[in-house]
């Protein structure tokens, strides 16, 4: 619970203490990860569908697969990831200080986070939006009826800021209960300390999905009050690392588009389609340009899967339809630039 405090201090201490070698090296993060042989990946703790250890202690989720895909591209082995659980407040210090190489933690892409925190977003793996959840027994059907409500929200999120904006815009008042720990804030909502729980709609769906038979007691209000493009984040200052993370994500989209799956990827190596040949490293030598093995995308698809498989495995069980997260060819927003 005091993790955020620690993280803040660690970040401050790191910035104070670490020698500034970074400027001298061209690719400090890329080289460090390669030398270490394992990827330190910052994820959330306990958001079903995004990152959550299962009953065997194996991390699963859309964000976790984001980490695994990068490890597969870099090392040819998706298991070479060390997961570091972060809270909404500890995530940025963890990335700034170098505790994690990559942050895939339902983090919203905003201008301030790139321009003043020293981060770069490598893509959008989930187009989300903020929503409100209430108990069915409350009888509320619209967010416009929430004047005077008590709202549970996690601190240090865009959610917190959007919440204030929304109530201000609609000239309503609210009272915030702000708790950092995701379990604590959900307990507060379940116990009735708050009338409303607000977060990204995906996260609310994930919460509802973990309530078992009680899921029926909770309803999501129809209003989506913000754009929340979630994606993987890296520190600025290592373009090579940024490129790898970005194109790892695009490879998953391209694979879905081309119909390459973990099941058929071996047959696809014989494909005559030049796009597939380039993607799987049969021709083109694209992997070398990124500084990794030419079979980088093959490894991603073989070990982690294409984006559709990842979605089906993680997001479908929590009951979120693909919606705007479908491929651009199917009316969604997922689009990869040419891999060539």
């Amino acid at each position: 619970m005091r993790h955020s405090m620690h993280a803040g201090i660690i970040a401050a201490a790191f910035t104070l203490g670490t020698a500034g070698f970074a400027a001298a090296q061209q690719a400090p993060t890329f080289d460090a990860v390669k030398a270490r042989g394992v990827l330190n990946c910052g994820v959330s703790t306990g958001v079903a569908g995004f990152s959550n250890p299962d009953s065997q202690g194996v991390w699963r989720g859309l964000d976790v697969d984001g980490c695994r895909a990068v490890a597969a591209a870099m090392f040819g082995d998706a298991s070479k990831v060390r997961y570091i659980g972060t809270t909404s407040q500890s995530r940025f210090p963890a990335l700034q200080s170098g505790e994690v190489d990559l942050l895939v933690r339902t983090t919203t892409w905003t201008l301030a986070r790139e321009a003043s925190l020293g981060f770069q977003f490598a893509g959008i793996n989930f187009y989300d939006g903020q929503a409100f959840m209430v108990k069915r027994s409350l009888g509320v059907t619209s967010a416009k009826q929430l004047d005077g409500a008590t709202v549970c929200v996690q601190p240090g999120t865009t959610t917190e800021l959007n919440l204030a904006d929304y109530f201000r815009t609609n000239r309503m008042s609210f009272r915030a209960v702000v708790i950092e720990n995701v379990e604590e804030i959900r307990n507060a909502f379940i116990s009735g300390r708050c009338d409303v729980y607000t977060s990204d709609s995906s996260s609310l769906a994930s919460f509802r999905a973990t309530q078992g038979p009680n899921a029926e007691q909770y309803v999501m209000l129809p209003e989506i009050i913000s754009k929340e493009p979630l994606g993987p984040v890296v520190r600025k200052g290592d373009q090579k690392w940024f490129d790898l993370v970005r194109w790892t994500f695009f490879a998953k989209i391209a694979a879905e588009e081309l119909g390459v799956t973990s099941a058929n990827v071996d047959q696809m190596l014989q494909s005559q389609n030049p796009e597939i040949q380039r993607l799987l490293g049969v021709t083109g030598g694209l992997g070398q340009m990124l500084g990794v093995d030419n079979r980088w995308a093959y490894n991603i698809i073989k070990q982690v899967g294409n984006f559709e498989e990842i979605w089906e495995r993680n997001i479908t069980p929590i009951g979120v339809p693909r919606g705007i997260n479908a491929l651009w060819t199917k009316g969604g927003l997922m689009y990869a630039p040419p891999i060539r």
Binding site: M5, I9, T15, G20, P93, R113, I179
Partner: protein
């Protein structure tokens, strides 16, 4: 005593050799040692080591500063306190001064500081009262009372504070919702939204009465000084209480009555989601205050007990021989002496309660740490944010120390 080799008013004596001739007793001085730049001279060694240590510390600070700036630049992290002027956008549940998310980060942080002070000050007062009662109870001749106090101390002080806070907060959340709120008294509601109770509709007359009360307190103090001076001069005792009653109770009441004696209660009413009107104690604040007070009181109790036991038994016997009741022995003879033992460790407890209030983060009470953490997260200014937290706690803690040191000096045994 320094030798009075100068006598004021006599200019000639300002010259040392003149003074020397005036009184040879004071002219004896140790022979002036010749200063030699040798390693064997202890003064040279002292200066050398001090310069070395100062240099090392200075270098370390310089290195940290330069390195920080460089790292921040490499990581393209903005620096400076300019963010304090920006709009915060943070919702803060409890605020002693008007606040909305449209206000600046500076104001949000100020709200956090006031929230910290609020819980620390109220907590310190309550913990002292409760701790003193329990400390005295532990020494009670009544077996049951003494044992109960002992059990209280051992249980409360041996459990981690964070655990206790989560326990109390969990308990608060276990209360029924606002629509099924418990109603122990008319107009008082206990629910998982906090404790709601009726409160005065504030009018100018109430402010005036409060001012009159403050004036009455000052007046009483002045009268008591005058009466004591009179007693010292003439030996005549005049009772203080009629003056005190008139000034502290009579004056505010008179002012209030003169201004029309307004008295309307704002009753909490269930409307919409929650209660409207009345005053609220939030579950977060209540849990934090309860946890801090109960925990710290256990330590204060031990300090009080130790302070009382530090007074020699003869003092009790002497007081008893004067015919004082046991409670009067304690109040008039033992406690004033015990205070000298109690105050220094009590200072540490006040510092602890202030710093422990930062555990508020865990249960969602927005103190300075909580607000500063969120600020760090929204702006990315970790170094500035941590610096603000440090400055705030340092200021509060040093103020407490200064006050307690002053108080300690005041009650210290006056040796003449």
């Amino acid at each position: 005593m320094p030798p009075p080799d100068r006598v004021s008013g006599d200019k000639r004596d300002a010259m040392p050799n003149q003074a020397a001739t005036a009184d040879p007793r004071y002219t004896r001085r140790p022979p002036a040692r010749r200063f030699s730049l040798s390693w064997r001279d202890p003064r040279v060694r002292n200066i050398f080591w001090q310069v070395v240590i100062l240099g090392v510390v200075g270098l370390a600070v310089w290195w940290l500063a330069v390195n920080t700036m460089r790292n921040l630049e490499v990581r393209r992290i903005a620096t400076g306190f300019g963010f304090l002027e920006r709009e915060a956008g943070l919702p803060i549940g409890e605020h002693l001064i008007p606040y909305s998310p449209a206000d600046t980060y500076a104001r949000a942080l100020l709200v956090g500081v006031l929230n910290t002070l609020r819980v620390a000050v109220i907590g310190a007062v309550l913990a002292t009262l409760l701790g003193t009662i329990i400390g005295i109870a532990r020494l009670s001749r009544n077996w049951l009372v003494a044992k109960l106090a002992a059990v209280y101390v051992e249980v409360l002080r041996d459990l981690p504070l964070l655990l206790q806070l989560l326990f109390w907060y969990g308990l608060m959340q276990g209360l029924p919702g606002p629509r099924q709120a418990l109603k122990p008294l008319e107009g008082v509601f206990l629910s998982n939204r906090g404790i709601k109770f009726p409160w005065l509709v504030w009018e100018p007359a109430h402010s005036a009465a409060l001012l009159a009360l403050a004036g009455g307190l000052v007046g009483t103090w002045a009268v008591s000084r005058a009466l004591r001076a009179r007693q010292n001069a003439t030996g005549q005792r005049t009772p203080l209480w009629p003056f005190a009653l008139a000034l502290i109770v009579g004056l505010p009441l008179a002012v209030w009555a003169a201004m029309g004696a307004p008295f309307t209660l704002d009753m909490p009413v269930l409307r919409g989601f929650n209660f409207q009107g009345g005053a609220t104690i939030s579950p977060e604040f209540a849990a934090l205050l309860l946890g801090l007070v109960l925990y710290t009181a256990a330590f204060v109790a031990e300090i009080v007990r130790a302070g009382i036991q530090a007074i020699h038994h003869g003092q009790w016997e002497a007081a008893g021989a004067l015919g004082l009741k046991r409670s009067d022995q304690l109040r008039l003879v033992i406690l004033p002496q015990a205070l000298r033992v109690i105050v220094p460790p009590l200072t540490s407890q006040y510092l602890n309660i202030t710093k422990n209030s930062s555990l508020a983060v865990a249960i969602g009470y927005q103190d300075i740490v909580s607000v500063a953490n969120t600020t760090i997260n929204q702006t990315g200014q970790a170094i500035e944010g941590i610096a603000i937290i440090m400055i705030v706690y340092l200021t509060i803690s040093l103020s407490i120390s200064a006050f307690m040191n002053w108080y300690n000096a005041k009650i210290a045994l006056k040796e003449r």
